[in-house]
Symmetry: C2
Subunit: 229 residues, 2 copies
């Protein structure tokens, strides 16, 4: 990776890219908030509903911090999110959980995919945005709750593993498909990642590697749950 | 009203009553959180979804503060909420909004009914819980967003007023019906409000007056929106 420490926010193209990236992250948090709350309604126990409400509430706090950063950078949050609403909404629509455990899997996979993406992307933004992205990343450790419940449920009834593994594959497949759609459509974000000749940013091969690392991370996590990925 | 400043938390009966009251308030906040998020999904614009997510997120913060107070008082939050889950859930179930505006009305009426109830009840608890209840009360001013949207919608299309007024009457009617059910079932909370012979607490006539004042407050607010209540 070639961190973009040399680029600065006085460059309007770079600034626009960072704003757009924050827009993508912010809308992701907002979708996470609504999805988690929605899935929490099927929780078998009040304690689980509360735990998920807590995770969701953190997502909203992160959303607000990202929106704050967009505004600091002179962007309009709604405009910055607009290019990504269709892709995120489509991911949610195409991966309906059919059970409480699949809902938990979606929380877990959604959070960890987002974390991995944040980790990769933080190399390419300005230092202040990078610090924010790292902080947002830390908070999402809340999804460990979902991982614990999933591990326990699979240990208690190994027969559910096959169906959950299938759902896990759908989650990553649809996520990659939407990510590639965004990469193809959105110049500003792609510019951030793709070498602009200045030696900063990642080139296209690097971008493919990012997707590969994210997929590998997902695979490792599924296996850690005892699922074949 | 006869504020209960003379009663203190070393009295186990009084302490149990305060814990139970905090349990009722906490579960109310949790239900508010889930209901608002659910209704936000029908919002016609992203900005509205965000505004409602913000209101919901505040409800969750208030929930956490009330749970913290229950724990400080030596209570178990889940146990403290348990007696009230059926009534709150039933209120939600019996008042399904059939439109985005009815959803907003439910946010507005739910928040303001809760605020009025908090204001009344704060006279009967220990000073520290009273301070917390007052703080929780302040935050719920967020529901002003719903009131503004409703006023605007009614001004734009007076024909919707009749149906919204009907829905408003159902909201208060079902709320009073659930409140009376709770009052009949729960000795601990009733003890807090009803004169125990010590001169503290409200008597049964006072309790009826509390319900009457809450109903009047709702009526006034409906009229302020331009609705016949």
């Amino acid at each position: 990776m070639a961190p973009s420490t040399g680029r600065d926010l006085s460059d309007p193209t770079f600034r626009a890219s960072v704003i757009e990236l924050c827009g993508a992250l912010a809308y992701g948090e907002l979708v996470g908030f609504f999805t988690i709350v929605h899935d929490a309604q099927t929780a078998p126990r009040l304690a689980y509903r509360v735990a998920l409400a807590k995770v969701a509430s953190n997502e909203f706090t992160q959303y607000e911090r990202l929106v704050g950063r967009i505004e600091e950078l002179g962007g309009d949050p709604e405009e910055a999110m607009a290019p990504f609403t269709a892709s995120f909404d489509e991911w949610v629509r195409r991966t309906p959980p059919s059970s409480w455990l699949e809902g938990l899997m979606k929380v877990y996979a959604g959070n960890t995919l987002a974390s991995d993406f944040y980790r990769e992307i933080s190399a390419y933004v300005d230092p202040q945005t990078r610090d924010l992205v790292k902080e947002v990343l830390q908070d999402s450790g809340q999804a460990e709750f979902a991982a614990q419940e999933l591990r326990q449920a699979i240990a208690d009834d190994p027969a559910i593993a096959g169906r959950l593994a299938l759902f896990g594959r759908r989650l990553i497949g649809e996520a990659l498909s939407q990510a590639q759609r965004v990469a193809a459509d959105r110049d500003a974000i792609t510019m951030l990642l793709v070498d602009d000749g200045s030696g900063h940013g990642a080139d296209l091969a690097e971008m493919t590697q990012i997707f590969a690392r994210i997929t590998q991370g997902h695979t490792d996590r599924m296996e850690a749950l005892g699922l074949s990925a």
